[in-house]
C-alpha cells in the first residue's frame, strides 16, 4: 500500500543545530582552565519515512520507519548524531595537578536518522 507523505518544511527535518556550551554556565570554569567552552551542537528534527534515505540514515532507521508506517505503535526513527569528534580539556584537580585529557564524542559533526 502507498504510504502517505507527511507535509514537512525543510527546516523541520533532522539536521544539526548550533549549541555552544559555556563552562561558566555549568560552574565548571572553576576547574577547567581551557577551553572556556566549545561548540557541542545538537541534532533535532523530523525523520519522515519518505526522506529516511536522504537524511543520512542507517539501514536500521529505514526499516524502523517502514515498520512505523505499518504499525504506528513502533516509534519513528529519531534524529541522532552520526559523526562525533573529540575535544581536549586542560583542567586542575584538587591535588593541584594540571591535567590535559582528550574526550571522545563531545562535538556533533553530523546528524542523521537512526
Amino acid at each position: 500500500a502507498a504510504i502517505p507523505v507527511p507535509k514537512l518544511s525543510c527546516k523541520n527535518l533532522c539536521h544539526r543545530h548550533q549549541l555552544f556550551i559555556n563552562f561558566r554556565d555549568l560552574g565548571w570554569h572553576k576547574w577547567i582552565i581551557a577551553p572556556k567552552g566549545f561548540m557541542a551542537n545538537y541534532c533535532h528534527g523530523e525523520c519522515p519515512f519518505s526522506l529516511t534515505i536522504s537524511l543520512n540514515s542507517s539501514n536500521y532507521a529505514f526499516m524502523q520507519a517502514l515498520m512505523h508506517a505499518v504499525d504506528p505503535e513502533i516509534p519513528q526513527a529519531v534524529c541522532i548524531p552520526t559523526k562525533l569528534s573529540p575535544i581536549s580539556m586542560l583542567y586542575q584537580d584538587n591535588n593541584d595537578n594540571v591535567i590535559l585529557r582528550h574526550y571522545e564524542d563531545m562535538v556533533v559533526d553530523e546528524c542523521g536518522c537512526g
Binding site: K30, W31, I87, S88, Q92, D93, N95, N97, V98, R101
Partner: protein, 229 residues
Amino acid sequence: VQFQEYVFLQFLGLDKAPSPQKFQPVPYILKKIFQDREAAATTGVSRDLCYVKELGVRGNVLRFLPDQGFFLYPKKISQASSCLQKLLYFNLSAIKEREQLTLAQLGLDLGPNSYYNLGPELELALFLVQEPHVWGQTTPKPGKMFVLRSVPWPQGAVHFNLLDVAKDWNDNPRKNFGLFLEILVKEDRDSGVNFQPEDTCARLRCSLHASLLVVTLNPDQCHPSRKRR
C-alpha cells in the same frame, strides 16, 4: 541535576567536580599540545588521540604533578660542596587503577637560562628515600643513588626519566617516600673565576622548582596500536 553531573564527571574520570584553591600555571608542553590539537580540530585533521607525538609515547592523559616536598636544613653537611638538599614528593593517587604509565619525566627548573653571569658547574644527585619518615619532623634518609649528573649553571630546566620509579610507586603507593635531591657546587679552580657558593645556593633555593610530568594510557579508551603489515 547534581546526580546527572556526578555520573558524567565519573565518565570523565573524576570523582567529583574539583575545587582548586588557586590556578596553577600551565606548563609550556601541555599548552603546546593543547593548542596543536585545537588547531588540528579546526582544520579537520584527524589525529590519534592515544599517541602524544610531542613526547613520542602512547597515552591519552597527561598530568603535571607539582612537587609537595620541602627543603632540608641538615645540622651536619655531608660534603663541603653541598649546596642544598630537598625532599621531592609527588602524589600519584590521581592515577586510576586501569591506567598504564608510559612516561614519567622529572623536571628540575634551576632558574632562567642565561649566557651571562655564568655560575659554577652543579652536580645533581637523586636518591630514592626507602624508609618512612615523619613528615616535616624527621629528616628523610637518602637511600640508593640512581642519578648523578653535572650541569652548567644557569641552566634552565633539566629532565630525568623516572618511569621505572614511578611505576613502582604507582604499583605500591606505600613505597612512595619521595626522592632526596642534593645539589653540589663544583669548584672550578682552572677557570680563574671566583664564585661565591653562598650566592649560588641562595639563588638556586629561590628558583628551584620540581615537577613530574606523567603520561598514562587508559586501555578502555585507547585500543592497542595495530602494527603495519
